[in-house]
């Protein structure tokens, strides 16, 4: 079985803004191993979401290669892509014209192979696996709360059981309680489905709660990609500010209370 789910080699990302050229990533290397929950951390504008989009094949790198599940990322968007990678967008990106169940079933239904009865049942299972009740199925996305939207979007991302799940700020905009329960859900799904997860997050609680590894984006590359304990100890001004500031200290309590099994 393939061990490296995502392999990024010598990646360059360059933005052209008029005649100004800004280099976001310079010779960036990153490898995500099967079963990991890797968090991407970095200052704003360091190109975390951009890197996520590169992994999804939504953007093409200026230089270098992005390989996902053994194939170039640009080939990811072919038929049945939902069975290879699932993406949870920051705002959910639910189709507002569809009901919740239709949203979840959409990737399977569009393939036009399986009977609708089976698809509906499969969607129903995913809906309940993300902790929503069966009567949510007929609601429209506009009737849902922020936390429910994230859950429905997660169910949709997982409908074809992809081995790789990408999360963009999974707990941004959620209240602490829904944020905690969302973390618990992600942790359970990661365990049950054997997922490999790559996420971008600013939320330190989420970061320490979920990640088995943390990759820090600074100075246009990944400065360290290691288990949380090692990352926190790494000497770099950004890491110092990010983890050892006042907010960081508070979240670090979590790290000491529940030592990681790594």
């Amino acid at each position: 079985m393939l061990e490296n789910v995502v392999e990024i080699k010598k990646l360059w990302t360059v933005f052209h803004n008029g005649d100004k050229v800004s280099v976001v990533h310079k010779d960036l290397d990153l490898t995500v191993v099967r079963g990991e929950v890797l968090s991407l951390v970095g200052g704003s504008g360091s190109g975390k979401t951009e890197l996520l989009r590169q992994i999804l094949g939504l953007e093409n790198p200026a230089k270098g290669s992005v390989t996902v599940l053994g194939k170039p990322a640009s080939e990811l968007g072919k038929r049945g892509a939902a069975s290879r990678v699932g993406m949870l967008f920051q705002q959910g990106a639910l189709f507002s014209a569809f009901t919740v169940l239709e949203n979840i079933a959409f990737p399977l239904r569009e393939l036009k192979v399986l009977p609708f009865e089976l698809i509906r049942n499969a969607a129903m299972v995913k809906l309940q696996m993300v902790g929503l009740s069966a009567d949510t199925a007929d609601k429209m996305p506009s009737e849902l709360s922020g936390g429910m939207i994230k859950r429905v979007a997660l169910a949709r991302a997982l409908i074809m059981d992809p081995p790789l799940l990408l999360l963009d700020e999974p707990t941004a905009g959620l209240d602490p309680e829904s944020s905690d329960s969302f973390c618990t859900l992600l942790r359970a799904l990661h365990k049950d489905m054997g997922l490999t997860v790559v996420m971008v997050t600013h939320d330190l609680d989420t970061l320490f709660e979920l990640s088995t590894r943390i990759a820090v984006l600074a100075d246009q590359k990944i400065i360290i990609n290691d288990v949380p304990k090692e990352v926190v100890a790494f000497p770099h001004p950004f890491i110092h500010e990010f983890f050892l500031g006042e907010r960081g200290q508070r979240a670090m309590e979590l790290l000491r209370e529940y030592p990681f099994t790594v």
Binding site: G80, A82, S83, R84, S96, A97, L101, L108, L111, V113, L114, P115, E117, L118, R120, N121, A122, A123, M124, V125, K126, Q128, M129, A134, A137, D138, P141, S142, I159, M160, D161, D192, M193
Partner: protein, 389 residues
């Protein structure tokens, strides 16, 4: 032991990961072994699914009631595969089953949730009547808020006259440019072509009666009084009306309207009034511009198709068309402009914060403004039937 492999329609698509069922008849009964990857990615390949569905169907018979299900050799089972099996088993565990803990956990998860229930669709006759009533009510609702919008516009105009320094002048000038100046090429082109087409058609008819010179009268009256203003209004309704609805609608979707209200900035004064003023100013100008282009087209076509020279056309035009026609056309255009602006703003402000509503609002806005323009034009034609003809 007789090994009886089921017949597959095609072996070309098969590899080690293809999900399939191997059937063995042993003295203890039938033994069904599941092989391959029972995952979403392999099940959704059309030939694989067709073969598997046919096989599962053939296994439905009574002979397989007490069959022994062997899932020990299955490569991979995900939730979709588990759902397929669970549905096939009639949502109950088979009596004899051999399964590893991993796939069992997946199946148990699927088994733990109730099936999707489909609500039977019932035709409701009273809903038909209710729908009609709702439509009527919504028509009055639209009318009410349109009247309110007109009243608000009046109040805003009074405020503008009393405090002209508070007015959104930069906005107004931007709209004048966007709605007016940038529409000049397209309105000129459409006007010119309509003029050419009309002149050719009319000249064919007039030649039969030897009444060539009357083309100036017919073209002059119809273009200046009716077609110029209506054509311009329809083009602007399609071009700028939709843009106004979309702009304001997106502001609703992104909560910008709420932000304005929170800051104490009146949406009527800041959004509706400048657009209404701009359209009221621009519409007559565009209308005159379209009319001139159409007359030019008509004049050239007339000189090409008949012996009506441009010089004669220009000389005869003032005598054929009274000035009151131009006044009427200009007044009409101001009303068209105001109506287009108000209807577009009305639909824009009613957009609900989702993409579907935005699309519906924009469509409704364009259709309504074009319809209203034509209705009002007919009203003008009836009211002023004695003026200028």
């Amino acid at each position: 032991m007789a090994i009886l492999c089921l017949v597959f329609s095609s072996f070309t698509f098969m590899d080690a990961s293809t999900p399939l069922i191997e059937q063995q008849d042993t003295p203890e009964g039938r033994r069904l072994s599941l092989l391959g990857a029972w995952t979403a990615s392999s099940l959704t390949a059309k030939p694989v699914w067709d073969a598997l569905a046919a096989q599962l169907k053939s296994l439905d018979g009574v002979a397989n009631k007490g069959a022994h299900w062997n899932l020990a050799q299955i490569d991979k089972l995900d939730y979709l595969g588990a759902q397929l099996l669970w549905s096939h088993w009639g949502r109950a565990w088979p009596a004899n089953i051999e399964i590893e803990p991993g796939p069992r956990a997946v199946l148990e998860t699927v088994a733990g949730f109730p099936a999707a229930t489909v609500k039977p669709y019932k035709y409701n006759w009273t809903a038909l009547l209710g729908g009609l009533g709702n439509r009527l009510l919504s028509f009055f609702d639209h009318l009410k808020s349109l009247v309110r919008l007109i009243g608000q516009l009046l109040l805003d105009l009074i405020r503008l006259i009393r405090h002209p320094q508070e007015g959104p002048w930069r906005d107004l000038s931007g709209h004048l440019y966007q709605i007016g100046a940038t529409a000049l090429p397209i309105t000129a082109l459409v006007g010119f072509l309509i003029g050419v087409v009309l002149a050719y058609l009319i000249s064919q008819q007039l030649r039969q009666f030897g009444a060539d010179a009357f083309i100036v009268n017919i073209l002059g009256i119809s273009l200046i009084r009716e077609l110029g203003p209506v054509l311009a209004a329809i083009l602007i309704a399609g071009r700028s009306g939709s843009a106004i609805t979309a702009q304001i609608g997106v502001m609703r979707v992104t909560e910008e309207l709420d932000a304005m209200r929170v800051m104490g900035i009146a949406t009527g004064f800041r959004l509706v009034m400048p657009r209404a003023l701009a359209l009221a100013v621009v519409m007559p100008l565009i209308s005159v511009w379209t009319t001139i282009a159409a007359l030019l087209g008509g004049m050239l076509a007339a000189s090409a198709a008949m012996d009506v020279t441009p010089a004669f056309f220009i000389n005869a035009l003032p005598a054929a068309v009274e000035v009151s026609n131009l006044v009427l056309a200009t007044a009409k255009s101001v009303v068209f402009g105001l109506l287009i602006a108000l209807i577009s703003c009305h639909y824009g402000l009613r957009v609900k914060p989702n993409t579907e509503s935005l699309g519906q609002g924009t469509t409704a806005s364009v259709v309504t403004s074009i319809t209203v323009v034509i209705l009002v034009d007919a009203l003008f034609a009836v009211l002023f039937k004695n003026v200028g003809i």
